[in-house]
Amino acid sequence: MLDFFMGHYAYWFTIILLAIGLYGMLIKKNLVKKIIGLSIFQAGVILFFVSVAMKNGATVPVKADNLPVSEVSNYLNALPHTLMLTAIVVGVATLGVAFALMINIYNRYGTLNEEELLDKIQ
């Protein structure tokens, strides 16, 4: 039972993050809060990938002289790290696009509330 807990608690934390992000995206009416929820959701996904790459007794994927490369269990799995490295920066860039759109919406309609926005558009 304790083994099960120690092996899975990282996944549960990421699931909590995903649930908070989904709550922010679906329930909140303000568009900025929706974007914050999206960002939290993204952080959950990134943390999930990084925690999957974990190996007990391994070190960071930078080659050290006293650890032979042929022994795979010496190093962490480097592939999820690479993917998430690019995903973080792309996430920041798309966040910039989202906020630029939001500035335009505010300048045009004067509100960021979803319901008022729907009223004004019609």
Binding site: D3, M6, G7, H8, A10, Y11, W12, I15, I16, L18, A19, L22, Y23, L26, I27, S51, V52, M54, K55, N56, G57, A58, P61, V62, K63, A64, V69, S70, V72, S73, Y75, N77, A78, L79, H81, T82, L85, T86, V89, V90, A93, T94, G96, V97, A100, L101, I103, N104, N107
Partner: protein, 97 residues
């Protein structure tokens, strides 16, 4: 619906392998269908291929270089989009006046 989503994910997570176990399926030499797993190949051959100790850099710059090119173009496009969005508004306003 969010509670249902959370419960579904918790149910799915109970089947995931233990975190940090070196014998996970992801860290094996060959996958279930008999094809080689890329993670091990990268660790074993990265220094031999590019003489760079940082394996993450080798994957980012060499093995997955086209992927990184795509990501860079995405970033560049995002910057251009912010520029175009906020500039068009300025000119449109001048046209209205």
């Amino acid at each position: 619906m969010i509670i249902a989503f959370t419960l579904l994910l918790l149910f799915a997570a109970s089947d995931l392998p233990f975190r940090g176990d070196p014998d996970n399926q992801m860290n094996q030499e060959v996958s279930m269908t008999g094809t080689p797993v890329p993670g091990n190949y990268y660790i074993q051959e990265a220094y031999h291929d590019a003489h760079t100790p940082n394996i993450v850099t080798v994957i980012l710059g060499d093995y997955r270089a086209i992927d990184t090119l795509g990501e860079q173009i995405v970033i560049f496009t995002a910057g251009l989009i912010t520029f175009l969005l906020l500039r068009n508004r300025k000119e449109g306003e001048e046209d209205d006046e």
